[in-house]
């Protein structure tokens, strides 16, 4: 302000005055703080909500052995409704497991190609394409499962129904692969180039460099990518609802139809009376799903963070 004659009294006064910049700074801090903690508030809010809705069932009808160990999910049985989620857990787990068998080789292969081998334009195009794939809505994947995979499986394996673990697993694997590729590629990119150069200077081939240096250095990030894929598979609803066949079953082979936890909630919630035991039981499944996906995502996040901190 007083550039021509910066005298001491003026300066001292400036130290004691809060100007516009000071208030803008405080305001921005407050807004950013709200944004930052809103995620936590929402998570807590969601948890409180589903717990409240499911609480009645938990306190009244819940039996640990029935809920987790009985394969009978018959909440609409007039005489004696049973609430066993074992078959639903088996459905979700089998589909997710198969999906990972499909997605891990695909996504790690794609990540290594995009991150280590592709260069220049090709690399940029591939990255954009992978991100585009990740943006395909799950109902589209479900539609592909219904209209393409279903007849294909019937034809190829000569089975009566093509909506089964195999169908949903492949669909879910293809769905999870792009996001896993994206994260795995980030993990590979985080490995400094000097490691690659140093290893190549030793005479290692590209494959040896990747296998012996880059992948070990990126292993946490790669594991994080896989766990995020598992979380995705666990939580996916629409595609598995359409592709699994939605039949309550403890699967004996990949050609058995199953039903997933998420699909059960989606399909039945609209049919139940609010506050009924069935309604509350569905929310109890919700709590279970919430806890499992929370644990999976949290550990994935911690693992990926571990990479950055190293």
């Amino acid at each position: 302000m007083n550039q021509d004659n910066p005298t001491m009294p003026d300066k001292a006064a400036a130290f004691d005055q809060r100007d516009r910049d000071w208030y803008i700074d405080k305001a921005v801090q407050a807004i950013v703080f709200l944004g930052g903690i809103s995620a936590i508030l929402f998570i807590i809010g969601i948890f409180v909500f589903i717990t409240k809705e499911g609480l009645g069932f938990l306190l009244r009808d819940f039996s640990f052995s029935e809920f987790f160990l009985s394969p009978w999910w018959e909440p609409t049985d007039e005489d004696e409704p049973t609430y066993g989620i074992l078959a639903l857990v088996a459905g979700t787990a089998s589909v997710t497991g198969l999906a990972m068998l499909v997605a891990i080789p695909f996504s790690l292969g794609a990540a290594i190609y995009v991150g280590e081998f592709a260069t220049g334009k090709k690399r940029e195009y591939l990255k954009v394409l992978v991100e585009l794939l990740a943006a395909i809505p799950s109902v589209v994947w479900g539609f592909i499962g219904l209209s393409i995979m279903n007849p294909l499986i019937i034809e190829l394996f000569d089975v009566p129904v093509g909506l089964n673990v195999l169908n949903a697993g492949v669909i879910l694997g293809l769905m999870a692969a792009p996001i896993m590729t994206s994260i795995a590629e980030d993990a590979l990119k985080a490995v400094p180039d000097r490691y690659r150069e140093a290893a190549e200077a030793l005479g290692a081939t590209r494959w040896q460099v990747i296998f012996k240096t880059v992948v070990p250095a990126a292993k946490n990030g790669l594991l994080g990518a896989v766990l995020l894929g598992v979380g995705r598979g666990f939580g996916e609803t629409m595609a598995v609802l359409m592709a699994t066949g939605h039949a309550i079953n403890l699967p004996g082979s990949v050609f058995d139809s199953v039903r997933a936890l998420t699909a059960t909630i989606a399909a039945e919630l609209g049919e139940t009376a609010v506050g009924s035991p069935h309604y509350e039981a569905l929310f109890t499944i919700g709590i279970f799903l919430f806890v499992v996906t929370f644990i999976i995502n949290l550990s994935a996040d911690l693992i990926v963070r571990g990479v950055r901190n190293q």
Binding site: Y195, E197, A198, E200, L202, G203, T213, A217
Partner: protein
């Protein structure tokens, strides 16, 4: 197979220099960083390269073991011959690189254990037995003056060592290649003076077994070690000569004496 071919090569043409560079020019995109380089490095000599920053020394080393292929922007004209073979025409660059050890200016401890850092190269060329690897690892770490400090924690991460220790680890790793040519690019930047002297003593011994190219911006280091020295300045090779001659003022170009005496650079 490989070694017999090499033996035939050296016996048939006794006078073949370890390394011969003719009309070499290096550019990044349109920018030429080094041009008109013609020099020979004899077997079992220490060849020093001195010069201020940005004079193309590191780029020169990169061409010698064809690490230019990492940088799509980097290209070179002219030829470099290793054991009389044009490195441009080699069909297996990995084999070339495995015969050339490199020590980078900033240490690169691979994210492996100390042991695995040194055992990697022997493993890559097929050494499998644990005893053989143990011997190689101990010998290389000894020579790089690192053994005493790390012998009790060979299984901890190499990238967690201090800068100077990592640099010695890099040297041990380069030695584990049993290279014919060892290229050191300002190795003493991150190493304390006492350790530097120990490594210099090792280099003098290693001369019996391999050819060494020593890029350094410590002119006195070149004087202590190099048999012959080249002076690079702003992308050209100003002078190549017997190290003692250069340092006793017997130069063809005034700029050399100026640099050596510390008048610029």
């Amino acid at each position: 197979m490989v070694s017999t071919a090499e033996n035939m090569e050296t016996t048939a043409v006794q006078e073949t220099p370890k390394l011969k560079v003719s009309n070499l020019a290096i550019s990044y995109g349109d920018t030429t960083v080094l041009k008109d380089i013609n020099l020979e490095v004899k077997t079992n000599e220490i060849f020093g390269i001195i010069g201020p920053a940005n004079s193309g020394k590191t780029s020169f080393l990169k061409v010698l073991n064809r690490m230019d292929t990492f940088n799509s922007n980097m290209s070179f004209e002219g030829d470099a011959f290793f054991n009389g073979l044009n490195t441009r025409d080699l069909r297996n660059l990995y084999a070339l690189r495995s015969r050339v050890g490199v020590v980078f200016p900033l240490p690169v401890g691979l994210p492996l254990t100390i042991y695995e850092n040194v055992a990697l190269s022997p493993r890559l060329r097929g050494v499998k037995s644990k005893e053989d690897l143990d011997i190689i690892v101990e010998r290389c770490l000894m020579r790089a003056a690192l053994w005493d400090e790390v012998k009790d924690r060979l299984n901890s991460l190499g990238s967690l060592l201090s800068g100077g220790q990592q640099q010695r680890l890099t040297i041990a790793r380069a030695l584990s290649q049993e290279p014919e040519l060892l290229m050191l690019d300002e190795f003493s930047i991150a190493v304390d003076p006492v350790t530097t002297m120990r490594i210099e003593d090792v280099l003098k011994e290693l001369k019996q077994e391999m050819t060494i190219i020593l890029v350094t911006n410590l002119v006195q280091q070149a004087r202590r070690l190099a048999d012959r020295t080249a002076f690079f300045l702003n992308g050209e090779c100003v002078e190549i000569g017997d190290t003692e001659e250069l340092f006793t003022g017997n130069v063809k170009d005034e700029r050399t004496i100026g640099y050596i005496e510390g008048k610029f650079g």
